[in-house]
């Protein structure tokens, strides 16, 4: 049976995560801090340029969206001027940049709130979901990967491989639906869609926006349990997708480390096998693993779009898709910029972490 080579992983639904591996750094040439800063700025500028482009080539005319298609010509012309659409493109982009930097994404047509207000309200829900997801994914994925590497070719290895393959191949929104049917409708083990039951919804005051923390701090343990039973199913799903990727990468890194000479030396010294695995090999494998986990986290923040839709989870993903279906471009682009910025930020952060953690890659 072929053993998959995880360093060439390219099959995950967390697609952007998988497109990069530890050997293939995002900033291969960034030798100095200044260089790195340029890379960050360029990447963010690129992100904004793309969203600007998307916002300007849309067939849905932003003017018509505001004044309606029955408006007389002079009203359309005035709205065009007020929106700055009569100016040359580069000037529009410059204005756009200034607005975005101030956190001004315009007003959502759908909710009539500034987009930034909506995003601030929705973000903690996504953060809570993705964070618990990555905790589950890394907490189970790393030990599974280590186990598979140690028992290479044995049953455990095959099982972990199958778990990973299924994770790469199954549509997350479908798995979510089926899990809802089974665990919520049939078995009644968990609560259904949404973050919290209506009974508790107004009893807790949002402090952090993370309901698990808020309810725990308020000492409302009944509400805490309710929040948890809403959260656990979507978080486990996201965690499973992170687990598929993390366990595969862990296995590959561990195999790499276990083949090193220092492992032979440690065995020759008579160290116990568990000490070699957990203290020596895993510690070295941890360096690329941290970046893998950071990338998975970014992938989960993005991957939550579909999950949130299935579970009616009032986070950023649901906000973006709802706005999409109502042609609310301000909200869509605002959401895209926020998710994209976090994604890019985590990407870059994982590079920095890699350099900080591995003394070999430190700048001399």
């Amino acid at each position: 049976m072929a053993i998959p080579d995880p360093t060439a992983a390219g099959v995950t639904p967390l697609s952007a995560v998988a497109t990069r591996t530890a050997g293939q750094r995002f900033t291969p040439h960034a030798k100095s801090f200044g260089n790195f800063l340029v890379v960050i700025l360029l990447t963010y500028l690129g992100l904004l340029a793309v969203t600007f482009f998307i916002g300007r080539v849309i067939p849905i005319d932003p003017v018509l969206a505001i004044v309606g298609d029955r408006a007389p010509a002079h009203v359309i012309e005035r709205a065009r001027q007020e929106l700055g659409l009569d100016k040359p493109l580069y000037e529009q982009f410059y204005i756009y940049l200034g607005k975005v930097l101030k956190g001004d994404f315009g007003v959502s047509v759908l909710t009539a709130n500034p987009v930034m207000t909506d995003i601030k309200r929705a973000f903690p829900a996504t953060l809570e979901l993705a964070s618990l997801g990555i905790l589950i994914g890394a907490g189970l994925g790393v030990p599974l990967g280590v186990w598979a590497a140690v028992r290479r070719g044995k049953l455990v290895d095959q099982v972990v491989r199958v778990i990973g393959l299924v994770g790469y191949s199954v549509p997350i929104f479908w798995l979510g639906l089926m899990a809802l049917v089974l665990f919520y409708a049939r078995l009644g083990w968990v609560s259904g869609p949404g973050r919290i039951d209506v009974t508790y919804e107004y009893t807790i005051t949002p402090v952090t926006g993370l309901l698990l923390l808020d309810t725990a701090m308020a000492g409302e343990w009944e509400a805490f349990r309710n929040v948890f039973s809403h959260l656990i199913l979507p978080a486990s799903l996201l965690g499973y997708f992170a687990l598929a990727y993390i366990s595969r990468m862990t296995r590959s890194f561990m195999l790499n480390e276990l083949a090193q000479e220092y492992v032979i030396a440690a065995r020759a010294k008579g160290l116990s096998e568990s000490r070699i695995i957990w203290r020596h090999a895993l510690r070295n494998a941890m360096v690329p693993l941290v970046t893998v986990i950071a990338l998975s986290y970014a992938g989960l923040l993005e991957g939550s779009v579909l999950t949130e839709t299935v579970f009616a989870w009032p986070g950023l993903g649901l906000y973006i898709t709802n706005s999409l279906q109502n042609a609310d471009m301000n909200a869509v682009l605002g959401g895209t910029i926020v998710v994209g910025s976090i994604f890019v930020g985590l990407n870059l952060l994982s590079d920095v972490l890699y350099k900080l953690l591995d003394p070999r890659t430190r700048i001399r």
Binding site: M1, A8, T51, L177, A298, N347
Partner: protein
């Protein structure tokens, strides 16, 4: 075993091929042999072939119409001998819809591959061969696209272009070329150092000729493997867009859109959503197995 096949095998396995054709056939033979030993990869290959056959003969295979059903008698029927996967809310046979829908899935995958792979190849090989500022600019653009969240970006593109299957294909293609460019560039960097490229250059070949006919063909095999591995991801993204109502529009029997439709009835009539999801799962699993096997067969280094 007859002597003739034995000699054919010797001819194929010789380490001193007498002609280009013999060397090529030998490589193909060994690739196929390694590949066919890998049972899971064969399973993936057979499933993908089955998908292609089903898509070609969909009209003959589908037992009922995929677009019209009988609202009075066949609405939301559970799986039975008459309707293997049951019927949906409009009385349409779900099996027939899945069979016809295989065409859409296959078409999306092929179109994305045809758009994204050559784009990535050209960007990567040109950047790798040209070096200097061309390389810097092209790779910076590639890196920027690599750092983007692909699903969100595809969502935004589709939002801008308007929902529909063509726009979904374009959006997925736009977001999936960067890994190919990176791979092609890495390979080009090693290839351009080789003696035969120096020889071709001394013969006076233009840079474009070198890139197009001497470097690109060598990068193709690894890109093909990578595309095969990505196909599962492409299928899942397309299905996700369809699920959000941004891909294929009703009444097209696109699998993701079918799940979105079945979602309305999922608590009581689970099969409406279950069947198309299972189809997506089987097909993308097959592509993953096939891609893994292809990589192991074509790239012995990776399969240690």
């Amino acid at each position: 075993m007859t002597p003739k096949t034995a000699s054919l095998r010797d001819w194929l396995s010789t380490d001193r091929p007498m002609s280009r054709r013999q060397a090529f056939m030998g490589r193909v033979y060994h690739g196929c042999r390694d590949f066919s030993r890998n049972r899971l990869a064969m399973l993936g290959l057979l499933t993908v072939l089955a998908l292609i056959l089903v898509a070609i003969f969909a009209d003959l295979l589908a037992p009922y119409s995929a677009y019209t059903g009988d609202l009075r008698t066949t609405r939301l029927l559970p799986p039975s001998w008459a309707h293997w996967f049951g019927t949906d809310d409009q009385g349409r046979d779900i099996l027939s819809r899945i069979i016809i829908g295989s065409r859409i899935t296959l078409m999306v995958v092929i179109l994305v591959a045809v758009l994204a792979a050559p784009l990535g190849l050209i960007v990567g090989t040109v950047a790798g061969y040209a070096g200097g500022w061309v390389d810097a600019v092209l790779m910076r653009i590639t890196d920027i696209f690599l750092a983007f969240p692909r699903l969100i970006l595809a969502l935004a593109f589709v939002a801008a272009l308007g929902p529909g299957i063509q726009n979904a294909v374009i959006a997925i293609a736009i977001t999936s070329w960067p890994p190919y460019a990176r791979m092609a560039r890495a390979e080009t960097l090693t290839i351009r150092q080789t003696d035969y490229i120096a020889a071709v250059r001394l013969l006076g070949a233009s840079p474009w000729r070198i890139v197009l006919s001497h470097i690109m063909p060598l990068c193709v095999s690894s890109v093909i493997v990578r595309v095969t591995l990505d196909m599962a991801g492409i299928i899942l993204t397309a299905a996700g867009l369809g699920f959000l109502g941004l891909g294929a529009q009703p009444p097209m029997p696109e699998w993701g859109a079918m799940i979105a439709n079945g979602r309305l009835y999922v608590l009581d009539q689970w099969w409406v959503a279950a069947a198309p999801g299972a189809a997506i799962f089987v097909v993308s699993l097959a592509f993953n197995l096939l891609g893994d096997g292809l990589r192991d067969a074509l790239d012995p280094k990776a399969a240690k």
